[in-house]
């Protein structure tokens, strides 16, 4: 008889804990559990299509990633290059024609490692030139950059490097290297911040800030 009451008590206690543990708050142990549990099956239906209509895009596939990048050739003012570069560069050099590209100053790696011909092909100006002399389309100029910047390339493919063109929603459209970096001078320049909080500065001067 005593044993039975004890069993009843234990069952009741167990049941009680089970029920009380089932609150909604503690549904997931951590955010990663939540992400894993709630992302399948995934059927989000928002898209950035509308935000992308004004940008001309091309689809590329690199490794496992397929995404859109902005089309480049139509954005280069002096394209097509052969409109001026009708002859190979070696034949044009020294002739009495108007100087061009005077505004371009190469500050990319050092002169021993790189010069114009590292990326441009003097006898075929309409295309870029890989390190082994293969043609690379101007639209796919990231292939030039990725020859040296392999870490950045990996990050860019995955989405850790490089800005999105418009929204977060699919389809993914990411800027390509030259949309943010000037290939002739790729690093960002020093400049003044665009914002300064005068109120915080005053508070700090008066010692009001904690």
């Amino acid at each position: 008889m005593k044993n039975r009451t004890l069993i009843y008590l234990v069952v009741l206690l167990l049941g009680g804990t089970l029920i009380s543990c089932k609150e909604k708050e503690g549904e997931y142990h951590s955010i990663s559990d939540k992400i894993e549990a709630e992302s399948k099956p995934y059927h989000g239906n928002l898209t950035s299509d509308e935000l992308l209509v004004d940008t001309e895009l091309i689809k590329i596939t690199e490794g496992e990633n397929t995404f859109l990048i902005p089309e480049r050739k139509s954005q280069i003012k002096s394209f097509a290059c052969i409109e001026c570069h009708s002859k190979p560069l070696s034949e044009m050099a020294g002739t009495d024609i108007q100087k061009a590209h005077w505004d371009i100053k190469l500050s990319h790696a050092n002169g021993d490692a790189m010069n114009c011909a590292t990326c441009h092909n003097g006898s075929n100006m309409n295309n870029l030139n890989s390190l082994t002399g293969k043609d690379i389309d101007f639209n796919l100029s990231y292939k030039i950059c990725s020859q040296c910047h392999s870490n950045q390339f990996e990050d860019w493919k995955g989405g850790a490097h490089g800005k999105k063109v418009a929204g977060w929603a699919p389809p993914r459209a990411s800027n390509t290297c030259v949309n943010c970096h000037n290939p002739h001078s790729p690093s960002f320049e020093k400049r003044w911040p665009v914002q300064f909080n005068t109120k915080t500065a005053i508070e700090r001067n008066e010692g009001l800030d904690h």
């Binding site: 951590s30 955010i31 939540k34 992400i35 709630e38 992302s39 399948k40 995934y42 059927h43 989000g44 239906n45 928002l46 898209t47 950035s48 509308e50 935000l51 870490n151 950045q152 990050d155 995955g158 989405g159 850790a160 490097h161 490089g162 800005k163 999105k164 418009a166 929204g167 977060w168 929603a169 699919p170 993914r172 990411s174 800027n175 943010c180 960002f188 020093k190 400049r191 003044w192 911040p193 665009v194 914002q195 300064f196 909080n197 005068t198 109120k199 915080t200 500065a201 700090r204």
Partner: protein, 375 residues
């Protein structure tokens, strides 16, 4: 009076305009309608004044013992106080009774009444949400003669917003801060900013007490790195926990939002937030009319008032439409990555799975949805 509402609606005669001089729009012929024929119209300021008079009266002009000793409460002043309190309740009614008041004023009074007694946004049905944003849009139009576009979009299905910040990329240009101020109609007088960019010394790690978040020199400065903080939209937000009136909560898509009309301004949430993510309006927020961002969301960048909390909402007015938050769009270095944590193909998921990410004060168990990483 419309049915299916949680509060009593005043009908200020907008729907039956014919009734005029003899009887009032409210249909009564006695009481407040006739008792004060002189008060034809109460402007917002007068209304406010009357409300204060009714509650504390002359006490606010007096100080110390005067409040106790120097009170002449004759019959006249007693009546005056009574009338004042009547005026609050009947202010709108008085407006409706006046022959000289324009229909705009009546409409405004009616909107004010409905807005005053609406419920918590969190508990509203979709129609009620639509109702309140319609009133707010109309009210803005009546006050400024300019139109705004406000939405009450709910969280989309299968969306959980997350954010990643690349510490190696940020150069401290602060384009994000100014874009945020413009996008979210933050008060220009107090220079409120949701985002802080901290300039930290190389080799010292995250030392917020030593960092400077209000630098003004050429950046990036030698020997320093930069990192930004804002509301992290915790999955287990302590600010929500402490709110005594449930004016702040976590939405289905993970955004921690505030109903500015339900907030009582106690600032418990500000104290509870371990990340300094929340801001308080000590004064009436002001934005020059031509700078007001007119694409608004009820929970986002609509105009706030004095004495309420606000904070980063991941630009709910943009992100629920598929856009990136303004800071992400403005960042010139691509240090900011935003996306849907539930989409296995999203870039934010790639970052979380492939980069070495960490969050601030992870041991608190707040589960921020804002990760930092390096190249």
């Amino acid at each position: 009076m419309s049915d299916n509402k949680k509060w009593y609606s005043l009908d200020l005669g907008l729907n039956n305009k014919k009734e005029s001089s003899g009887t009032c729009g409210c249909g009564k012929t006695e009481g407040s309608c006739n008792s004060s024929p002189k008060e034809e119209e109460l402007s917002a300021d007068e209304f406010y004044e009357a409300a204060i008079n009714a509650s504390i009266g002359e006490e606010r002009h007096r100080d110390g013992f005067e409040q106790v000793f120097d009170v002449k409460m004759d019959r006249r002043s007693a009546f005056k106080k009574l009338t004042a309190s009547l005026l609050i309740g009947a202010g709108a009614v008085t407006t409706s009774c006046s022959v000289t008041t324009g229909s705009d004023t009546k409409e405004k009074a009616q909107i004010d009444w409905e807005e005053q007694f609406k419920g918590n946004y969190k508990l509203m049905t979709d129609e009620e949400k639509q109702g309140t944003i319609n009133r707010l849009m109309r009210s803005y139009e009546l006050r400024t003669h300019k139109k705004i576009n406000m939405t009450a979009e709910n969280a989309a299905e299968d969306v959980l917003f997350g954010y990643a910040f690349n510490i190696s990329k940020c150069q401290g240009y602060m384009n994000c801060v100014s874009a945020c101020v413009e996008e979210n109609n933050q008060d220009r007088n107090s220079e409120m900013q949701y985002i802080r960019i901290h300039e930290m010394k190389d080799g010292e790690g995250f030392k917020f007490n030593k960092a400077d978040d209000n630098y003004y020199h050429e950046v990036p400065a030698e020997g320093h790195f930069y990192m930004g903080t804002q509301c992290f939209h915790c999955d287990n937000p302590p600010c929500v926990e402490v709110c005594p009136v449930q004016a702040t909560w976590k939405e289905e898509d993970g955004l921690v939002v505030i109903d500015y009309d339900w907030c009582v301004g106690c600032r418990y949430c500000m104290a509870a937030c371990p990340y300094d993510g929340r801001r308080f309006n000590w004064s009436k927020p002001e934005v020059p009319e031509q700078e007001v961002n007119k694409n608004q969301h009820y929970l986002g960048n609509r105009m706030r008032k004095k004495g309420v909390m606000e904070k980063c909402t991941f630009c709910v007015q943009r992100t629920r439409k598929g856009k990136n938050p303004a800071c992400v769009e403005a960042c010139p270095t691509g240090a900011r990555i935003f996306g849907n944590l539930l989409d296995p193909d999203s870039t934010i998921r790639w970052v979380l799975e492939n980069k070495k990410v960490f969050r601030l004060k992870e041991d608190l168990g707040t589960e921020p949805k804002f990760w930092y990483f390096m190249d």
